[in-house]
C-alpha cells in the first residue's frame, strides 16, 4: 500500500510497547507460574471463596453508594456555578492525593464508633471497625472521586438546549434529569462506575486500617504471602485477577455497546 510510517510514529510505538510489556508481563507470568491444580483447589478453600465474595460484594456496594450520592453531586457541579464550587471540586479530588493508609486512618478517626459521627451510625447499627461496612466506607472514600468526575463530565457535555426544549414541552427539572440528562450521560456514568468498582476491588491500604477483618481477597493474599510465602498466595491472586478481568471485560463491552 506504500504506507510510510514516520520516524516519530515508530519511536513512539516502540516506547509505548515497552510500557505495555511492562504491564502485561507480570500478569502473564503470574498465570504461567501458578500451577493449574492449585487454582482448581480454590473453590474448596472456604476462606478464599468467602474473601473473594466479600470483595465483590463490598466493591459493588461502594459503587452503588457512589452512584446514589455521587450522581446528584456531579449534576449540581456540572450544571450550576456557585460560590464554593471550586472548593467542593477540590474536596472531591482530595482522596486521589491522600496516601491510602492515611485515608484509612482518616476514615477511622471520623467514623469509628468512638467518634461523634460514628456513634450516631453505631446507634443505627452501622459500625465500621472490622465490619463489612468498614470495608465499604474505605472503598467508597478512595473510589467515589472517579465516578463523580466521570458523571460530571458526562452531564457537562449535554447541550443545555435539550433541557430548555424539554422544559418548554412540559418537563419539570427532575423529569429533564431522568429523561434527558441521565440517558445522555449514561455511557460516561457507566464507564465511571466500572472504574470506581475496579478501584474499590483493588483497594488494600485503607481497608487494612479500617477493617482488617473480615478479610477481603487482597488482604487474604497479603496474609498468605506473609505467613506462607509466594506460592501460597498465588492461586487466590490468580483467581481474583481472573474474576476481576472477566467482570471488567463484560462491563466494558456493555458500556461500549450502549
Amino acid at each position: 500500500m506504500g504506507l510510510k510510517i514516520s520516524s516519530l510514529t515508530l519511536a513512539f510505538s516502540v516506547l509505548g510497547s515497552f510500557l505495555i510489556l511492562f504491564l502485561v508481563i507480570p500478569v502473564l507470568l503470574l498465570y504461567l507460574t501458578t500451577p493449574a491444580e492449585s487454582m482448581l483447589g480454590i473453590p474448596y478453600d472456604q476462606e478464599a471463596v468467602k474473601a473473594i465474595f466479600l470483595s465483590l460484594a463490598a466493591a459493588t456496594t461502594a459503587t452503588g453508594l457512589s452512584l446514589i450520592f455521587g450522581i446528584p453531586l456531579a449534576f449540581i457541579l456540572a450544571r450550576y456555578m456557585f460560590f464554593s464550587k471550586s472548593f467542593i471540586e477540590a474536596v472531591v479530588d482530595l482522596p486521589l492525593v491522600i496516601p491510602h493508609s492515611v485515608a484509612g486512618i482518616a476514615v477511622l478517626v471520623a467514623y469509628s464508633s468512638r467518634s461523634t459521627i460514628g456513634s450516631i451510625f453505631s446507634n443505627l447499627g452501622i459500625i465500621i471497625e472490622d465490619t463489612f461496612w468498614g470495608i465499604v466506607a474505605a472503598m467508597t472514600f478512595v473510589s467515589a472521586t472517579i465516578l463523580i468526575n466521570a458523571a460530571k463530565d458526562g452531564f457537562q457535555t449535554v447541550d443545555k438546549e435539550y433541557e430548555y426544549v424539554a422544559r418548554t414541552l412540559g418537563a419539570p427539572l427532575y423529569k429533564v434529569f431522568f429523561t434527558v440528562y441521565l440517558p445522555l450521560s449514561f455511557k460516561p456514568i457507566l464507564s465511571g462506575a466500572i472504574m470506581t468498582w475496579a478501584r474499590a476491588m483493588s483497594e488494600v491500604g485503607a481497608i487494612l486500617i479500617v477493617a482488617y477483618f473480615p478479610k477481603i481477597a487482597p488482604i487474604l493474599i497479603i496474609d498468605r504471602f506473609l505467613n506462607y510465602g509466594l506460592s501460597a498466595s498465588k492461586p487466590i491472586a490468580c483467581t481474583l485477577l481472573t474474576i476481576s478481568i472477566a467482570i471488567f471485560i463484560v462491563l466494558r463491552f456493555l458500556a461500549k455497546r450502549r
Binding site: Y164, A166, T168, L169, V180, L184
Partner: protein
C-alpha cells in the same frame, strides 16, 4: 396574546434592555437584528428559560414573568433544533405528550396526525442522526406543536440550511403559522427572511428594540440610522407578476424581472445584493435577468463594496462585490455596467 413590558436582562455578554412589545393572536412576528443584538436572550425570556431582572411578561393576559417554562405553554425551536439524540423521530415528537400523561394509542394518533400534516410521516421511525437539516427542522417543529402552544418561538430556524431548503421551509413556516393559527415569534439576522415572512417585525440592536412595524413600513421609513443602514442594502421592489414560460415576469415600472415559479398580480420582490453580479461587457450567463445601468455610488461596507446602479427606468439596484472584483472591473462612479442575477435568486412574496 403576548405582551412584554419594559423587560430587561443581562446574561453574559448579551443584553435585553427595556424591551416593550406586543403580538396579537396568530401573528407572524419577526425579531431581526445583527448577531449579539440580544434576540435569542429575548426569546429565552419569553420561553421562561431565564427570568427578567425587571419588567413583566404576559401571555394570554396572564402575568407569566416568573412562571417556569413548563407552565407557559410555549413551543420553542432552538437554532440547532436540539432533537434528543437518544430518541427516534417518533419519540422526539411524542416527548411532550408523554409528559402530559396521554395513553400510548392517543400519543400514536396525535403524532401520526401531526406528522401527516407536516409531511414527515415517512420519517417517524428514523434515527435522528440520519436526518437532513430540513428534516430535523420539521421534526423539531412537530415536537414543539404537540403541546398546542399558544406561542411558537423560532430561533434562527433557517440559518443552518442551504438556500434551496431555506426557500422551501420559509413557505412551510408561514403555512404552519396559518394552519395552526399559532402566534409565531421568529428571530433572525436575515432581512430577506424577515421581510418575506413577517406580518410585523421588530428591529433589535444592543438589546433594544428600535422599531416595530410592518416590513413595508420599516423598509420605507426606517426610524433611525442603524435601521436605515441595516435595511438600506436590500433590493426590494413592488411589481406586477404575470406567468410566462413556466416562470413569472414581474414588471417593476417597465423593467421586466424574471422569477422562478408561477405568480400573479401585485407582488414584492427582493434580491440580495450579493446575488447581483457585475460585468463591463454583456455577460455570457444562464441568468435570465441581465440589465444595464449607470453606477451612481461605490461605498465600502466591511469586507465588500456596495455598488449602486441606476437603470434607464430609474430603478436603483445595489450589488455587493469584493475589492478584487472592483479593481479587476475598474469600476467607478458614472460608468455604464451590466448587472445580472438568476431568476432563482429573486425572492417573491
Amino acid at each position: 396574546m403576548l405582551k412584554l413590558e419594559h423587560v430587561s436582562k443581562r446574561w453574559g455578554e448579551f443584553t435585553v434592555d427595556d424591551v416593550c412589545m406586543e403580538c396579537v393572536k396568530g401573528e407572524y412576528f419577526v425579531i431581526m437584528g445583527p448577531t449579539g443584538a440580544g434576540k435569542t436572550l429575548l426569546l429565552q425570556l419569553i420561553a421562561g428559560i431565564f427570568y427578567p431582572e425587571s419588567g413583566k411578561i404576559f401571555i394570554g393576559g396572564r402575568d407569566v414573568t416568573f412562571y417556569p417554562p413548563e407552565k407557559r405553554g410555549v413551543g420553542y425551536v432552538p437554532q440547532n433544533y436540539a432533537l434528543f439524540p437518544h430518541l427516534d423521530v417518533f419519540n422526539n415528537i411524542a416527548y411532550g405528550l408523554k409528559l402530559k400523561g396521554y395513553s400510548q394509542p392517543e400519543i400514536k394518533k396525535i403524532v401520526k396526525e401531526l406528522a401527516e400534516n407536516l409531511g414527515i410521516n415517512n420519517l417517524l421511525y428514523r434515527n435522528i442522526k440520519t436526518l437532513s437539516g430540513g428534516e430535523q427542522q420539521r421534526v423539531a417543529l412537530a415536537r414543539a406543536l404537540t403541546i398546542n402552544p399558544s406561542i411558537l418561538l423560532l430561533d434562527e430556524p433557517l440559518s443552518a440550511l442551504d438556500s434551496k431548503t431555506r426557500d422551501n421551509l420559509r413557505e412551510y413556516l408561514k403555512k404552519i403559522n396559518k394552519t395552526f393559527k399559532v402566534t409565531t415569534i421568529h428571530v433572525t439576522h436575515d432581512l430577506v427572511e424577515a421581510v418575506s415572512l413577517a406580518d410585523r417585525m421588530a428591529v433589535m440592536n444592543n438589546g433594544k428594540i428600535l422599531q416595530t412595524d410592518t416590513p413595508e413600513k420599516i423598509l420605507a421609513k426606517p426610524s433611525n440610522p442603524f435601521i436605515a443602514e441595516f435595511t438600506g442594502s436590500i433590493n426590494v421592489f413592488k411589481g406586477f407578476a404575470t406567468p410566462k414560460e413556466n416562470m413569472s415576469e414581474v414588471k417593476i415600472s417597465n423593467l421586466p424581472v424574471w422569477v422562478s415559479g408561477i405568480h400573479r398580480g401585485e407582488v414584492t420582490i427582493i434580491v440580495r445584493p450579493e446575488s447581483i453580479l457585475l460585468a463591463k461587457e454583456y455577460p455570457k450567463t444562464s441568468a435570465r435577468n441581465v440589465f444595464k445601468g449607470t453606477i451612481v455610488d461605490i461605498e465600502p461596507k466591511g469586507t465588500v463594496y456596495a455598488v449602486k446602479i441606476i437603470t434607464d427606468s430609474n430603478i436603483i439596484f445595489t450589488s455587493y462585490i469584493t475589492r478584487s472584483a472592483l479593481l479587476e472591473l475598474e469600476l467607478k462612479k458614472g460608468d455604464k455596467t451590466y448587472f445580472f442575477f438568476k431568476a432563482s435568486e429573486v425572492h417573491i412574496f
